[in-house]
């Protein structure tokens, strides 16, 4: 496996923090191309941020659920709010309604939140709607913390939807917004624009998309990742 090779190549340098060594050790080769979808753990997540530029903007909250064997266990959810000193620009705040510095009791700092998230992800497949952006946000935080990046495989539900709907334009995952897909697949859209709410909606979307692909013979992780839009 590519990532095992990477991990070996890089080795666990002595200055890796413990959480990161533990994270890397999770990629032990148990997930392979032939792993049935039922046995693959997907971490479906979403972040709310101060803006849309990973280089400048910061994470406000992370919400995630795990999908395993066609099931979401609500007790295994991640829902954390990040304390940021960064002053937001009005526009983004209007979308998700989180103001930095409010409710300090429940918040954690970014380092702690990202550590939680990394441990939560383990070696799962990371899934999100336009997941590249959310991963970039996490990676930006990891870079400034320890100079590392997430190594999980990833799956974009927007791209997956294009594949299921057999649209030619799946190279451009942006065609399908989460709202549009929720309408197509009858998914109720309450709590949009909270990280956990969007993560949950996306997880239900993932289940419905996976089921449709399974009918077409996509039954393994290999088959799932082979498609475009990864």
């Amino acid at each position: 496996m590519l990532f095992d090779w990477l991990a070996k190549k890089l080795g666990p340098p002595p200055d890796h923090p413990k959480f990161w060594s533990q994270y890397l050790s999770g990629f032990d080769g148990t997930l392979g191309k032939r792993t049935p979808i039922e046995e693959v753990c997907f971490v479906v997540f979403d972040t709310e941020t101060t803006g849309l530029d990973p280089r400048k903007d910061r994470i406000l909250s992370i919400g995630a659920v795990k999908v395993l064997n066609w099931q979401i266990d609500v007790s295994q959810r991640l829902d954390c709010y990040v304390q940021q000193s960064y002053k937001p620009i009005g526009e983004t705040i209007a979308v998700h309604g989180i103001l930095p510095g409010v409710n300090l009791n429940r918040e954690m700092d970014e380092v702690e939140a990202v550590q939680h998230f990394v441990a939560y992800c383990h070696n799962s497949i990371l899934v999100g709607h336009h997941v590249a952006f959310d991963i970039a946000m996490i990676n930006q935080a990891l870079k400034s913390m320890i100079g590392q990046k997430l190594v999980n495989k990833r799956l974009d539900t927007a791209a997956l939807a294009s594949r299921v709907l057999e649209k030619k334009d799946y190279e451009q995952p942006g065609t399908y917004g989460l709202d549009t897909l929720c309408k197509i697949y009858d998914i109720p859209m309450s709590d949009r624009h909270t990280a956990a709410g969007d993560a949950f909606i996306t997880a239900v979307l993932l289940l419905k998309l996976l089921a449709r692909l399974k009918k077409r013979g996509v039954t393994t992780l290999g088959g799932l990742l082979r498609g475009p839009g990864i």
Binding site: W70, Q71, I72, R77, Y81, T194, A196, G197
Partner: protein, 644 residues
Amino acid sequence: MENTIPRRIYDFLKEFPPFNLLDPSLLLRVSERILVQYRQPDEVIFNQGDAPGAHIYIVREGAVHLLREVDGETILVEQCDEGDVFGIRPLLASEHYALTAKVVEESLIYAINIEGFREILENNPKVAFYLASTFAAGIGEKYRREGKPSLFLDQDKMVDANFPLVEIQSLEKSKDPVTCLPDTLIREAAIIMSNREVGSIIVVNEAGQPEGIVTDKDLRSKVATGVVGLGRPVTDIMSSPVITVGPNITVADVQIEMVKNRINHLCITEDGTLDSPVIGVLSEHDLMVVQGNNPALLIREIRRCRNGKELRNIRERAEELLKKYIYQEVAIAFIATVMSEVNDELITQAIRLCQAELDAEGQKRPQAEFCWLALGSEGRQEQLLRTDQDNALIFENVPEEAYQSTKAYFLELAGRVTRLLNEVGYDYCPGDMMASNPSWCLSLDEWKAQFSKWIFEPSPKAVMYCTIFFDYRPIYGPKELSAQLTEHIFKIIEGQAIFLGFLAKDALQNPPPLTFFRNFVVESSGEHKDEFDIKARAMMPLADAARVLILDAKVGKINNTFRRFEKLSELEPLNKELYQQAADAYEILMRYRALQGLKNKNSGRYFNPSELSKMERVNLRNCFQPIKELQTLLSLRYQLAYLR
């Protein structure tokens, strides 16, 4: 913002029973532990006969069929869709699944681990009751305790004493019963009773088995009056046999026994029969301690009433009792028994008062016995709230020369009784089906002729009369009169398949309760526009079907619709399930009608479906299922296609 996902699940669950009955913080805790399962068509969630699973299920989206395999055939028992709960058997009883749950549409299912939920159940009797009654109503699985009128649940496991309902609490039995041997002298027994400060003493044999009971009343009426000497053995004055019950008796059971037998003391024996040792005594006083307003007390007070106003007052107190029973979800079989007893006693007292009035006015009683019949819902022992009075009168055949005066007397009596009942709150029958109508105040021979005419020459009107008159039940006077009429009817009905066909056809005339889209059909015009007619659309089809089938089976004396269905399920094992569902459905419908009636202070017949909660709608909708099946059965059995 915190806890977004559980909140979303909570928002869904709180719309549906039984979750709407839970405290919000509790429901949120349940929501935090939910498994969201994606299921595809044809997937089987559990199989009939599988060991109990760890979850109960709620359909979030999609549809699941509950199926039963019977002799290699698969029967659809229920379709569960959004908000429906299924697979609750493991929660209520550690038994194997009785049904198979199969997904029919792409579905999202919420699964709740039964561990933890069980505790919730124990602390929330309403939730337990809801699950138990849906369970019993045939949603999901079937479960009923043989012969137990009060509880669906297995008492030992589920409810115990922390249930707040007095009616189903286990009674603290009076320990150390006061007993004596049969050769004890009355004087000695009286001394024991007085020393122990009790109002009764059980006479037991050497083995401790009850032989009889001596109460204060026996001492007063038989000894103090000098009829029996103090030096005689207690066996001379004891009442025997005593009515015995088992140790796990509930207040409801005790009341039923006392009301039924018109007694004030029950003897508790080890196994509930006369053949085991006495372990306690329950007196009516014990009951009154746990319960303020009690039916036996009301019935006794009715006998002391002197006028319509007093009777009305009692009936209103009975309604309070009814309200309490309904809100506490006491079994309808019990409520119906109690309320019919009250109604019967009210009618009886009304007759007694009117007869005394006529006596006082010097009107001579004729040389003929009479029997007062209750018809319609009171005849079926289903009248919980006061509705219209339907009644009739049979008098003994009299010589021709005495007929005029006899009939005149009974018409005068019936006129006064119906007037008095109207004062009590039972409206006059708009169709004049009352004993005060000369057509329905007849001699036995005239009644026989009347029924013969209806049966041999069935017309729509005759059939309509039959549906009302066939549910007659003797209330006052010698029961032989009505028994003779019943015998006559069964004799002539033999070989009159065409008549049963007419009755069956009539039973299919009722309008359907649901639209194609499973909405309630409401009245399109008139006084009750946009209201649902629960009587015509849901109850009458069941009552009518039960009547035809029970007449066909020649079973008399059972008038109550759900008891008729229960009897039918014994007689026709093949249709057992349908009949039991129908019986359950009827009980639930009676409960709803009473609930609506109490809420809106009317007969409860019409109500606006939009005022029902989702739970009520689901419950009602499920009651309608056996109606359709029964109508198909009638159609086939009486080949109604030919008659149409």
